[in-house]
Symmetry: C2
Subunit: 194 residues, 2 copies
């Protein structure tokens, strides 16, 4: 199988679509972030990479708190809007009709319409080159009652979507597809070879 070199790229896939929230000058704002992931298990922490110039970056610096909201497929328009506009120019909460609420942290704004909401307290800000990698401890998780089955989060009700950053066919959003295997299970089939 031949390989082609492409130089340094950010080519991993899939990536999540997360709406990161912060109060900026006292008002809630949200931006779309695909560059984020869980950073620690016990206690749960998350990291998000945010360009210095972003309006949300300012708000996180002001309060040292932020939120991470997972949108479902029916919010793809709003999520994309939060990625292509700046809170310095538009009121995204108003344009997107987000119902904003707060949890145990005073200034980490949460979006009611998103099925999953995490409240985060900043633990580290790692200043890289173009972006800050902001690590937050997850203080609380809110989940929409309608996305639970037997009291537990149900992925088929949350209906998240992924951001695809490859140039072909296009930068796009995709829902989840076929279930291909049970995790921590299918790999056992290879154990016979040990």
């Amino acid at each position: 199988m031949g390989k082609i070199l492409m130089g340094p790229t950010t080519l991993i896939c899939p990536m999540p679509v997360l709406l990161v929230g912060a109060n900026v000058d006292g008002k809630p704002n949200f931006m779309a972030v695909a560059w984020g992931g869980i950073a620690n298990g016990e206690p749960p922490m998350i990291s998000v990479a945010i360009r210095y110039s972003r309006y949300t970056h300012r708000g996180i610096g002001q309060n040292l708190t932020f939120s991470v909201n997972v949108p479902s497929v029916d919010l793809v328009r709003e999520a994309d809007y939060c990625g292509i506009t700046s809170g310095s120019k538009v009121n995204k909460v108003e344009v997107c009709h987000f119902n904003v609420f707060y949890g145990k942290l005073d200034n980490a704004p949460l979006i009611e319409q998103c099925p999953v909401n995490l409240e985060c307290k900043v633990m580290h800000i790692l200043d890289l080159a173009s972006h800050s990698l902001i690590v937050g401890r997850i203080e609380e998780t809110h989940i929409s009652e309608s996305c639970l089955t037997d009291g537990k989060p149900d992925i088929d009700k949350i209906k998240p979507f992924a951001y695809i950053g490859t140039p072909v066919p296009d930068h796009r959003y995709q829902s989840l597809g076929e279930v291909i295997a049970k995790a921590f299970s299918i790999g056992q089939e290879l154990n016979v070879r040990e």
Copy 2:
């Protein structure tokens, strides 16, 4: 819409499935990592969260290099195997029949069968609580020739899959599904409201 509190959790979705490679005591080993994401844009950097006790953690510490390999759906069995076994006990390269090669870094092992391979040089190791958040600068990208269209990476040929960490219906792997929208585009429909 009612919300339920679940305490601190790592509930984001979807997550990527990445095979992180390192030479440990001079031999290539790979582990499955869902807790990773892009950390910086210019230059490209990536972060992966790895538990201290993991065999791969030792190898990354030894060489200060690692690789990130994106498996396609046909490697789901091997990827899961790399997540449920330890290189201290089994030779994963042998069991999984991985063809290992090296690029510009001497000791960041790459998997030929994975369509995308990133070579990374460690820039920061952020010691959190249970995990280290390891930030690497992406030095080179290798992509399988068969996954290109007009010389560019084509997601429909790469065929990556996601890890779903919600307990219901089950922890599982899912392929990508329906294309729901073009990124940096559909959000413009809301601009009429500005």
